[in-house]
Amino acid sequence: MATVIIPTPLRKFTNQQAKVQIPAKTVGEIIQSLATNFPDLKKHLLDEKGKIRSFVNVFAGEEDIRDLQEENTLVNDATLVSIVPAIAGGISL
């Protein structure tokens, strides 16, 4: 079980829930569970291959899962998982 913090722009897909409790042992299970339970959220989290989109950062506590074991990062009841959208833009790439 872990607590997931949903960022403001994606709450329209989670019935305005800011925090969701999900029974899971890994970050990957959490993401898959979110995609299953909130189908409209799926395209914002996963790419065509079912991998976490490059524009989405996932943090376990204060750590980016890319610096841990990525989707295999373990979670427990005390883990706060944050979905963090990449915010970028500008005149040109």
């Binding site: 913090i5 403001t8 329209k12 914002h44 963090v84 959208p85 990449a86 915010i87 005149i91």
Partner: protein, 146 residues
């Protein structure tokens, strides 16, 4: 419809001028009523985290983003969107802006020409992931709406 209270408006435009010719960025906070009308009551200035040349690109780092969400919770505000500037370019979203944009957020773009704010426009993604203009936020209409 998105409106600004005077102080956050002045802060946002001042930030865009101060950072010129680089792109500035920050968070917009406030409230949204049941009809979707938004009022910005606070802004939070954020460092442009884009490595290298910041004159044509901006980026908000993930830890700054998490702090931004936390600020909304602590102050009982809604994170309404993001502002950034287009130095010496119109306030029209680029393809880079569109691809990276999030639903729900208002994207305020400030066009700064030669160090002076020229015009401001606000955009939101529609369900087809294309930008619609939220309204016509010329500097004159912003001040008239306050």
């Amino acid at each position: 419809m998105i409106r600004f209270q005077p102080t956050p408006l002045d802060q946002m435009l001042g930030h865009a001028v101060q950072i010129f010719p680089d792109e500035c960025c920050g968070f917009l906070y406030g409230k949204e009523d049941e009809e979707g009308n938004r009022v910005v009551t606070e802004i939070l200035i954020v460092d442009n985290a884009k490595p290298g040349d910041k004159r044509r690109r901006f980026e908000i780092g993930p830890r700054d983003y998490m702090k931004g969400e936390q600020y909304a919770v602590e102050h009982d505000l809604t994170l309404l969107g993001i502002y950034h500037s287009h130095p010496n370019h119109p306030a029209i979203p680029s393809e880079h802006d569109r691809v990276a944009a999030q639903p729900y957020f208002s994207y305020i773009i400030i066009s700064v020409k030669d160090g002076i704010v020229d015009h401001v426009r606000s955009w939101r993604l529609n369900d087809q992931a294309q930008f619609d203009e939220e309204n016509t936020l010329t500097i004159q209409t912003i001040h008239q709406s306050i």
